[in-house]
Every structure is written in C-alpha cells, then in structure tokens.
C-alpha cells in the first residue's frame, strides 16, 4: 500500500491486447504474428510475451487467431465500445459494458 514508483505515463489509453499469464505457455506465436511488434517475446525464455507497443496495435486480431491456448483477449478502449439493442425487449447494452447479456450466438464464421 505504501509503495509508489516513478514510472512513465501509460503509452496508450488502453492495453489493446491482454495476455493471461496463467494460460500462456510462452510459445511466442502471437509475437511472431504481430505486424507492428506491439507484442514482443519476453527476454526470459518460456515467460509470457510483453505488450510493449499498444499505441501501434491495429486490432487485427492475428495474435489471438495464432494463440493455441486462448490466452489473449482484446481490449477495446471505452471510446470504441458501441451500443446494441435487443429488439424484443428494447434493452440496451454496450459492447464490453456492464450488465451485458451472456453470449447467445455461437455459430462459427463462414469458411
């Protein structure tokens, strides 16, 4: 509680992609599939990669598609979280917002 650090400000408003270190096996497939080097391998072998340049993330999702352990989540910044409305009930939700309904559409994408 009483510790504080002299650290730089966050480089981007949000972290863009978040790696779950519990699930990550440190294979670096995500880093190998990142066009902007937003994700870089950890210098310590076997440890989770580092999201070092979130400001350059294109939100292309290639890292998530490359991950075999479902260890990466995309994090949209607040300003990009749009509303949707359930037609039958008129309820309004926000992508990534509070009170979101559970996933109810499970069809895989076509192809």
């Amino acid at each position: 509680m009483d510790k504080a650090y002299l650290v730089p400000n966050p480089i981007a408003p949000c972290q863009t992609v978040i790696i779950d270190v519990e699930k990550c096996v440190g294979c670096n497939r995500c880093a190998d599939h990142c066009r902007t080097q937003t994700i870089m391998p950890n210098p310590v072998k076997g440890k989770a990669p580092i999201v070092i340049y979130p400001d350059e993330c294109w939100f292309c999702g290639c890292c998530i598609a490359a991950c075999k352990n479902d260890a990466i989540k995309m994090h949209y910044p607040i300003n990009q979280r749009v509303f949707f409305k359930r037609k039958e009930t008129g309820e309004v939700f926000r992508i990534g917002g509070p009170y979101s309904p559970p996933q109810s559409y499970f069809k895989p994408p076509v192809g």
Binding site: R35, W58, P77, K87, F93, Q103
Partner: protein, 659 residues
C-alpha cells in the same frame, strides 16, 4: 554521462531486447527478381515470377502470412469482371467505368489489367487452397448465389462483378504457403527495404537492387537483382497519415495496414521515377484515430450492405436507389436501378431526411436492424463478410458475439452525425461524423507511373498493386502480371553492378539514429518527427494552395530534414525502423508539395492542356512531361485494351505451352 535520450521514458530498468542485435552486419543476396513488399500483390508477383524459372527474393517488413492490408482477411474479391458469369466483359466494363463520375479519373490500362486478370487470379488462389465457393450449400437458394458454380456474389447480384470469399480469412496464409512451395523463392520477413540501388548510384538509371534493415536484429541487407518490383502500397490506401496522426492510438484508426508508410513511393521518387500528377489533395479522410472499429458500427453500406436501418423508436428508414428514387423491397437494394447498367458507386442507400430528424419524426440514434433481414442476408453480413473481412473475424465477430451481441435478436447502433451529414448521400459511417471532404481530397496519391508492362520510367523497376493505383483484390491480378513482366525482363538482361558508394551512403543513413544515441542533442522521437511533418502539411498543403505557400512548405520540410531529423534517436531495431518509416513519410510529404508545384509550373508555361502530365525530380530539378489523353491506346501501342494485354502476355503463353 546520462544523456537526455537515456532519461526519456525510463521509469525503471528496461528489459533486454529479445533478439540478438547485429547493427551493421551485412547480408549480401543475389537474385533475379526482387519483390519489395509481399501483401496480396507482392505475393502473387513472387509466385508468378518464380514459375517462370528465375530466382526470386520476396521481402516484407512483417510476417507474410498476415502482412499487408489483406493480411487479416478479405471478405470479397471486388471488380472480378472477368468471371464468366459477370454481365459485362472487361472491355465493356472499362468503357463504362471511364464515364463514371467517381471512377472516371483513374481508369486506364492498369484498371484493365486488374479486372482482366482477376478471375484467373482467383482460380489460381483456389488451386493454392483458397475456398471461396459455397461447397457446404449453406447459402443454397440465396439470390446472390449461383446454384451451379456455388459462387456467391456481393453488392450487385445482377451484374455479378464482386465475389464473396467463404474462406477469405486465410487469404495471406495460403499465399505464403504457395511461396514456400516454390523452390525458386527465398522469403525475407521483418526486413524493411529502405532504398533502391541504381546503376552507378545515379537517379534515373536502371534499378540493380535495394538495401534494407531487419526490424528484429538490426542487420543490414544488400540485394542485387536484375529487376525489382515495388508492391508496398504506399499512399493510395489512405493510411500514411500525412495530415493527421495521434501519438497514442494511431494504428487503430487505420483502415489499411499501419505498416503502409509510403516506403515504396518514397524510394521510387528518390530514384527519379516518374509520378502521376495530382490536381487536388489535402486533409486525410478515414484516418482519425478515434473513429469506430471498422465494420463494427451499425450501417447499411459496404460490408453491411444491404442492412435495414431503424430510428430509436423502431421506425424503418426508407431506401433510395442510385438515382435517388424510392425503392421498397430488400431485393432492390442489390440490383441496378431501372435504366442503370450496373450499380457502381453510389450504391442504393437509406435516405435519412434531416428535416424528419429536426421535426422529431425520426428519433436518434439510428440502429442497424440486421435481425430483420432474411436469413441469407443476415448470415452473409455477419458470418460471411464480417467473419472474413480484414481484422473483423476476431475484433468484431468473435468479440461482439462474446460480448452478448446476437444478430438474430439485436440491432447495432449507428454513429451520430450532424443533420447535414445524415442527409448527404456519401457518409463515412466508420468514423462517426462524416467527413465533408470530397473523395479527391483524400490522402491519396495515384503514385508511380508505369507503362503497359507495369514498368516505371526507371529501367528494370516495376510497380504493382496499390503502388500503381490498384487497391484491394485487384492487387493480386496486377501482382501476377508484373511478376511475369519482371521475370521476362530479368531473363533478357545481364546483372547490373551494385554501386558500393551508394550502399555506403544508405548504410550511414540507416544507422544514423542508432549511432547518434550517445549525443545529448539526439532528443527527437520518431513520433515527434511525424507530427512535425503533419503540421507542415496542415498549414502548407491544405485548402489554400499558392506557389509561395508551396515553397514555404518545401522549405519547412527541408529545414526539419536538416535539423530535427538529424536528431532523431532509436533505442532498438523497432524504433530504428519507425524512424526510417517516418523518413519515408517526410519524402511522401515532399512529393505532394512537388506535385503542387508542378501544377503551378505547368500553368505558368501554359503547357499540356488536355494532356496527361507526369512529374519527376532529378538532381533537384522538377521535370514535367506530357502524354496524349488515352496514350495507352495510341502508337506505339495497339488501339484496343485486349490487343495490348495479349501482346504483353505473349511470352507468358509460350512459356506455358513449352512447359
């Protein structure tokens, strides 16, 4: 001594760079054809050149399986006019397009090369493993599906000019696997080509290779080649942010690959290649960093075509056709209007009368009511298009589904706009507030000029894909075509000599941001350099264009180049490549201003009225040349598109039959 750059952003002891750092270490590669940039165009160019039996080096700044604007997927193959079921032949279509108010400006032989080869290219991709037909019969009976061929069309179901890709998500992975199978191909990834090498190191001389740097190790590369193809897109896809840039989240607002930084056009310009002149440009459209996620906001257009819109009370917004006449059935949104040969642009759209918003008849916000569409349209938008389009499978489809969005039950909110923009025909749905700039005012260059062989004015230097004005799916056919032409060129010439002095100068430029790290003066970040360039363009290449403002802009850029650009620092290979990309951007900004200047010069000299102007800069002198309108159908060329095309591909046919 602790320098200023040591202190910047060092809150704690930084981690070690995860790759071995080998600044300056040289790799010398000898090849026949060098392909710079392996997006859709470059990958096809590499493949086709290799099949002609020459050695090919394919170089990309990123991993080829995901690189380029098509690297995160592609939902449809646009402009596939040469498919046998299209209502028009490419020859008929090109004539119609030339008269189109939107396309007319840029229709030339390169558009023809694109549409003529697009179907063959799609079949080639199918052989490599791309699945685009609805083999699973999921869309059986849908009005956009051909029951015999199982091909699914988009936008204009009658003309059948655009083909939806069932497995477009894997587009680039398939291309990379294809390249890997070719024994003549060597792949170089994470290597940024920084400059062309020319005979005797002179501008305007034949291209003999290129130099580059690795963004992981910092190693240096020197390629010697008999012919070179630039396929680096450049500025024709609105991505370089010449006018605007946000330092904190810049890449998220880009429609195309953020690595699209204009390197190709910059190096071609520096080598003295001829460029298309431009009449009007300024201010970026579609590159705001805080727009909505691409294809992830309610709208009725593009990937979301033909989605219905309703107001906040559920009242449906009526549609109009391309002529503004009301249409009442969903099916009418995807067929040409009465008397219209094909839909083209503008497409049918909901007509949002601003008066009805003012009067309260329509309550905002509007919602895209995907759930009300027939099943085939709903699934085509959400599963087929959003499921395969670049950067939407994970970022929209997967993300929104997990967040509870259900296209069977839910409507997605549309962006708010001013009343004026709601009423306008063309709206920028993805950026929220529509941009009032006209299309010609985009951050768009038509780029390097080429001849019928897609060769630039520099001997041995070819340009294809968006680099020579052919974006999107057509990049593939353009790439395949130029790959063949560059291979033929390589077969008939001797290898040129690399000028070592040019290599030395380039190497010094490339490593300068690293070498000046110990210098306390080196306090400029690549982001600062970029934003500095933006301000020049905002002030001196905006709405007001005069000869003096233009000169002022060039003087300003030159002043930054000589001072602050010589103070930029790079603390690792990543930052080094970013600085070099910003140096490309600086050159792109110069090109815009020189093209402005060329327009004034032409006016002054009273030259070239009714002709097509080209601009190049050699030894500091701006050189203007002119060609007749439609020069590509006049001597020494044949009078028709088809004849010229067949003539250029004649050797290719022989090669195939001999094989």
């Amino acid at each position: 001594m602790v320098t200023l750059t040591d202190q910047i952003n060092y809150g704690s002891s930084p981690a070690q760079w995860p790759y071995p750092v080998r600044y300056g270490s040289e790799n010398r590669i000898e090849t026949d054809v060098l392909v710079i940039g392996a997006g859709v165009a470059g990958s096809m160019a590499g493949l086709m050149a290799a099949r002609r039996g020459v050695k090919v080096a394919v170089v990309d700044k990123a991993p080829i399986s995901i690189s380029g604007s098509g690297g995160a997927g592609l939902d449809h193959y646009n402009g596939c006019i040469s498919n046998p079921d299209c209502a028009f032949t490419p020859e008929e279509y090109i004539e119609m397009q030339a008269k189109h108010p939107f396309f007319g400006r840029s229709v030339d032989f390169r558009s023809y090369i694109q549409i003529k080869g697009s179907w063959d290219n799609l079949l080639e991709l199918e052989k490599l493993g791309l699945k685009f037909r609805d083999e699973e019969d999921e869309f059986a009976g849908a009005p956009f599906r051909d029951e015999k061929t199982k091909i699914m069309y988009a936008y204009d179901y009658k003309t059948k000019s655009s083909i939806r890709l069932r497995g477009g998500d894997a587009f680039k992975r398939i291309m990379r696997e294809g390249l890997e199978k070719e024994k003549n191909v060597k792949i170089y990834e994470r290597v940024m080509i920084t400059n062309l090498l020319t005979e005797d190191g002179k501008q305007g001389s034949r291209a003999v290779g290129a130099a580059g740097v690795n963004e992981q190790t910092g190693e240096f590369y020197v390629f010697s080649a008999k012919s070179v193809i630039i396929c680096t897109a450049g500025v024709s896809m609105q991505a370089t942010s010449t006018w605007t840039f946000n330092s904190e989240m810049f890449a998220s607002g880009y429609r195309s690959d953020p690595r699209n930084t204009g390197d190709g056009v910059a190096m071609a310009w520096k080598a003295g290649a001829e460029f298309h002149s431009e009449k009007q440009f300024g201010q970026t459209r579609s590159t705001g960093p805080f727009g909505w996620p691409w294809y992830g906001i309610g709208n009725p257009d593009n990937t979301w075509c033909p989605c219905s819109l309703v107001d906040n009370k559920g009242k449906e917004i009526p549609w109009v056709d391309s002529f503004g006449n009301p249409i009442f059935k969903i099916e009418q949104r995807t067929i040409p209007a009465e008397g219209q040969p094909y839909i083209g642009i503008p497409r049918p759209t909901p007509y949002i009368n601003p008066e009805l918003i003012k009067s309260g008849e329509y309550e905002l916000p509007l919602w895209a009511d995907i759930s009300s569409l027939p099943e085939h349209e709903k699934r085509a938008i959400w599963g087929l298009m959003v499921g395969n389009e670049g950067r939407t499978r994970i970022a929209i489809y997967d993300y929104y589904n997990k967040a509870g969005f259900n296209p069977d039950k839910d409507m997605l909110q549309c962006p708010m706009m001013s009343l004026e923009n709601f009423g306008a025909y063309a709206k920028d749905w993805f950026q929220g507030e529509a941009n009032n700039n006209k299309f010609w005012k985009a951050d768009t260059l038509r780029g390097v000029a080429t001849d019928w062989n897609e060769m630039t004015s520099i001997d041995g230097l070819f340009a294809s894909g968006s680099e020579c004005g052919q974006g999107g799916a057509g990049a593939g056919s353009s790439g395949a075509y130029s790959g063949n032409r560059a291979a033929e060129f390589a077969m008939r010439v001797e290898r040129g000599v690399i000028n070592e002095e040019q290599v030395r100068i380039e190497k010094e430029r490339v490593y300068a941001p690293v070498n000046r790290m110990g210098n306390p003066q080196a306090c400029i970040s690549w982001k600062e350099l970029w934003m500095g360039m933006n301000r020049v363009m905002q002030q001196d290449c905006g709405d007001i264009k005069t000869p003096s403002v233009c000169e002022h802009g060039l003087m300003w850029l030159d002043s930054i180049k000589k001072h602050e650009m010589q103070m930029t620092y790079a603390r690792n290979p990543h930052e080094l490549v970013r600085v070099l990309e910003c140096e490309s951007r600086m050159t792109v900004a110069e090109i815009y201003l020189h093209l402005c200047k060329a327009n004034f010069k032409a006016q002054e000299e009273g030259a070239g009225s009714g002709k097509i102007m080209f601009v190049k800069r050699i030894g500091g002198e701006l050189i203007l040349t002119y060609k007749e309108d439609k020069w590509w159908l006049k001597p020494p060329y044949a009078p028709t598109y088809l004849e010229n095309y067949m003539k250029c591909r004649a050797l290719e046919k022989e090669a195939v039959s001999n094989g």
